[in-house]
């Protein structure tokens, strides 16, 4: 199967970061790992190493949330979708070795990039959630006067917050997750 050079370069950068960390990864490493020439890499990513790292963070966040969407897309209703999503994402974050390692050793390099790329993820989650909310509305389960777009934005933003930092909530306890979704997340949205 032919993989786009761009995709190959991003996957290679990710592999290098997993091995060497963000600070020590060089464009040379990515050339070796990807088999794409230095000239082509600079054509695709004129910003060099900085741009490679930034786009690789965005690329992995994209993959993470695509896997999450795939894991929950056939949930029977909106509340179950959120419950399953929170539990899945919490586990996936705990088990994400590369994220854990870089968070531990180079948080100052990673976190600003995650924050820059975050609005893309927010848009992605919002767009993913909206059809489920529309389905709830057709079933007559949405509270009167709720603006679905704002509601989807709110839920997306707070789900993202909960995935990174659950705070008081124990995401391994299904009863707690059910309460959190029913009250804090959906109390103003569903009947």
């Amino acid at each position: 199967m032919q993989v786009e050079p761009r995709e190959r370069v991003l996957a290679a950068t990710y592999a290098c970061v997993a091995r060497f960390g963000m600070g020590k990864t060089t464009v040379e490493d990515v050339v070796k790992e990807s088999g794409v020439s230095r000239a082509s890499i600079y054509r695709l990513f004129p910003g060099g190493k900085d741009q490679l790292l930034r786009e690789t963070v965005g690329w992995e966040m994209n993959r993470f949330f695509s896997r999450l969407a795939e894991a929950v897309y056939d949930a029977p209703d909106f509340a179950s979708l959120l419950q399953e999503g929170l539990v899945f994402a919490h586990r996936a974050i705990q088990e994400h070795d590369v994220l854990r390692k870089v968070l531990e050793t180079e948080p100052e390099r990673l976190l600003p990039l995650i924050t820059v790329e975050q609005h893309r993820v927010l848009d992605f989650i919002t767009a993913f959630l909206l059809p489920y909310l529309e389905r709830e509305e057709r079933a007559g389960r949405v509270r009167p006067g709720v603006d679905l777009e704002s509601a989807a934005q709110y839920v997306a933003r707070l789900v993202l917050s909960l995935i990174g930092s659950p705070g008081r909530w124990d995401m391994d306890d299904p009863e707690q997750v059910r309460l959190l979704v029913r009250d804090e997340l959906l109390g103003g949205i569903l009947r």
Partner: protein, 207 residues
Amino acid sequence: MALPTMTTEAEGLSPAPTESVEERAVRATLACVARHGLAKTTFDDVAREAGCARATLYRYFGGKRQLVRITVAREAARIAVSIRDAADAEATFEDAVVAMFVRAARELREHEALQFLFAFEPEVVLPHVTFDAGNRFLVGAGAAISPALTRFLPAERVERAGEWLARVALAHALSPAGPIDLTDEAEIRALVRDLVLPGLLRPEPTT
């Protein structure tokens, strides 16, 4: 030395009579960070800005790390009091929560040191408010604002609500893009009334 340093040095030489060394040092640290950022601020800069001898400052703080830690703790406590005061001035739960968000947004917007850090040294702030450190921040911030909620909620819901309000504020502060503008009071009110409060007030199910 550049002119701004001279001006503030003059301020530092005539502090309010009741201001302690610690208060002066905190004010000086904030002024230096607002001007040059955290990495470039030295212990000497702060001493000069505060109008203190370096040795005096050293006796109190023992170094930049400790100075920064105390500055952060004092600022956090001051902002928490400011947010609780905003809530205490209101009669209804909705007005109190709106006032808390409005005040928090204003404290953030008008905080020159924090604004510098967000703009130019995000790597200094973000490790303290995201992932595992985010848990500690949310629990702490939630506990700090909770006393303002006891008037409106059953005791067992107070801390849970405090943490949720802190989370809503942080989630918007860290990713300001989006349809909700937390500097606009009407938008804050709509968010609070329609999406946030119903979840906090939801009664325990009877079945």
